[in-house]
Symmetry: C2
Subunit: 367 residues, 2 copies
Amino acid sequence: MLECIFYFHPTDPELPVSELKNDRFLRALMREPVDMTPVWMMRQAGRYLPEYRATREKAGSFLDLCKNPDLACEVTLQPLKRFPLDAAILFSDILTIPDAMGLGLYFGEGEGPKFERPVRSKADVDAIGVPDPEGELAYVMNAVRVIRRELHGEVPLIGFSGSPWTLATYMVEGGSTKNFALSKGMMFDQPALMHALLEKLADSVTSYLNAQIAAGAQAVMIFDTWGGVLTPRDYRDFSLSYMSRIIDGLTRENDGRKVPVILFSKGGALWLEQMADSGADALGLDWTIDIGDARKRVGDRVALQGNMDPCILYSSPERIRQEVAGILDSFGEGPGHVFNLGHGIHPEIPPEHAAAFIEAVHDLSRR
Amino acid sequence: MLECIFYFHPTDPELPVSELKNDRFLRALMREPVDMTPVWMMRQAGRYLPEYRATREKAGSFLDLCKNPDLACEVTLQPLKRFPLDAAILFSDILTIPDAMGLGLYFGEGEGPKFERPVRSKADVDAIGVPDPEGELAYVMNAVRVIRRELHGEVPLIGFSGSPWTLATYMVEGGSTKNFALSKGMMFDQPALMHALLEKLADSVTSYLNAQIAAGAQAVMIFDTWGGVLTPRDYRDFSLSYMSRIIDGLTRENDGRKVPVILFSKGGALWLEQMADSGADALGLDWTIDIGDARKRVGDRVALQGNMDPCILYSSPERIRQEVAGILDSFGEGPGHVFNLGHGIHPEIPPEHAAAFIEAVHDLSRR
C-alpha cells in the first residue's frame, strides 16, 4: 500500500522519479507475459468512495477539484490506498481542452457539463486556438507531476483525453445531448466546418497528451465516449481518423519505456478491426462483446482492456468472482489482457464490492 | 392519399375489411419482389407533426390519447394523410402490458414513464397475472379494429409490443433508468426471479400480439429497446430467448396472408446471426451497422428494416436524398428491404424533411 505524504514541489524538475515497482499493466498493454492479469477501474477515483466525497466537499466545485493539482493527486491516489490496483489514472475532466479554448465550462446544479459559448459557426471555429498545455492547461500537467512523484513508482500513471469527436459534440451542443441534433447537423450539412473543428481538436489533443507524457504519464487513453452514436462511415471519417492522427503524433516514450496508447470507443465493438489499425496498442471494450470473440477478431495486433458489465458490482462478492472467472476464461491463455469494467464504476457501488472484484482478478489469474 | 372519415363502430365485427391496395411492405418483409422499396418511420405518428400536437392537446394526457381508440386512430392516420407511407403503425405505448398488470403507469410533468407499484420481490412477481387482451387491454384491440377499418385497405397495419426484457426493466426500476441497477441487479443476483417475471411477460406479449393480429394487425414488431445494454450471454438468455418463444407462440395469419414478425433490438447489430435464428421474418437495424454488411451476415434468412440515422432529417432535402441513395446502394439488388430510420423520428424534425425522405426512397428505388 502507498504511504502517501502530500509534500511536493510540482514545478521542480530535479526531484527523482522512482523506478516502477509494478509494471504488469504496461507489460500487458504491450502483450508481454505477466504474473497475473492487471486490473484498474474506469472512474476508480470517484463518488463511490466516501473519502472522494469528502475531498470533493473540501474542494468546492468539481472543476475546483480538477484544477487543484494537490487535491487532484489526493483523489487519484485514494483508490490505490484501498485496493491493490495495477494503475493510477489522472483525475481530471474530459472537457479541459474546450475549457482552455475559452468556451466557459461550468456544471449547473445537478446537471451535466455546459459551455457558456458553444461553437456553432465558421467564425466560432476560426476563433479557436490550440491551447498551450503548459499555459492554460498547466494545472493538468502539474497534477501529472505531483501524482507521479507521490506514486513513488508503485504503479504506472495513465494520462487521458477525450477524443476530438467526443469533445466536438459537447462544444457544438453546448453540453450533453441525447439527440446530437446540432453536432450531427454540422457534420451532415457543413462537413468542412466540422472537419476544421476536428483538426484543431486533434492538434490540441496531440499536444495535450504529449505534454502529459512529458510530465510523467506512462500510458495514455483516448476516451471516445460518443463514437458509438455514428454510422460506420461517419465513425471512420469523423472520429477514428482523427484518433489515428493523434496516435501518429504522440511521443511514445517515457523513462526509456514505450508509452502505450489505449483507444476506447464506447459502443465500438462493431469496428474493432478498424480500431486495431489505428496505431493503438490496446483497445478498451464495453461489455456488449464477448472478450474471447473480440480477441479472435483483432488477433495479435492489440491488447484488450475490459470488459465486465459495471452492474455486476451491485451483486454479491461470489457473483462478482464468478463473472470475473468467466471473462478470464473467455480471454483465455496468453498475454494482452488488462482487466477493467466496460464503463466507469457507478457511484452507488459499495467499496467492498470493488475490493472483491480486484481481488478476484488477481486471484483467479495468477500464473 | 387516404380519404379518412372518422365514422366507425369499433365493436361491430360485421363491417367488411377492405382488400389491401398497397402490399409492398408485407411483400418486402417476406422477401418477395416489389416495384419500389417500401418505407415507414418509427414514431411516424408523433410530436414532429402539428396535427399530432393538436390531437394530443385535445386528448388530455398521453395515456388518455393511447386509451381512446378514436383518437389513437386519428393520430395513427395523420402521417398517412401527409406522406405516401407504405405502412401504418398502431399508436400506443410499449408499457400498456405492465399498466394492465396493475402497476399504475403514469407520466410525470416533463418526465418519462413511471410506475406507482414497481416489481421488486418474489411476492410482487407472484402477484402478476397475464392481462386479458380483450379485458384490461380492450382499448388497444379496439384501436386496432378502428384503424383497420379507417385505413380502407390502403396500407397494412403494424401491431407491436415491447420485449419482455424491455418491459421488465421499466417494471423493476419503476420507470426509465440510465444504470439498470435494480433490473440488472435482479438478473444477476436472483436470476430465477427475473426468469419468472420474463416468463409471465412472454406469455402476456404472446397473447397481446395474437389479439392484435386477431383484431386486424397485418404485421407485428417487437421493440427490444434495452436488449443492447446486455452482455451477449445475458442478451441471449434474458432477452432473445423470450422473444423467440413469443414468435413461436404467434398465430401468423390474417386475411389469408402470413403475418410477418419484425424484431428490433436497439444496439443489437453485434448479434444479428442469433436474431436471424429467432423465427422473425425481418430484423430492424439501427444505423451503427452498414446495411450491406448486415445483409452479408444474415444472408437469405430474414429481411432487413432500416437504417438511416434519424439525425440526417435535420439536414437539407438534398443531403437526405444523398443518404437514402447510399443506403439503397449498400443494400443492393434483390428483395428484402424495408426502408426506415434506425430509431424514432425526433420531435424537432420539419415535416417537409420527412416528406423529402419518403419521396427519395420511392424515387430512387423504383425498378
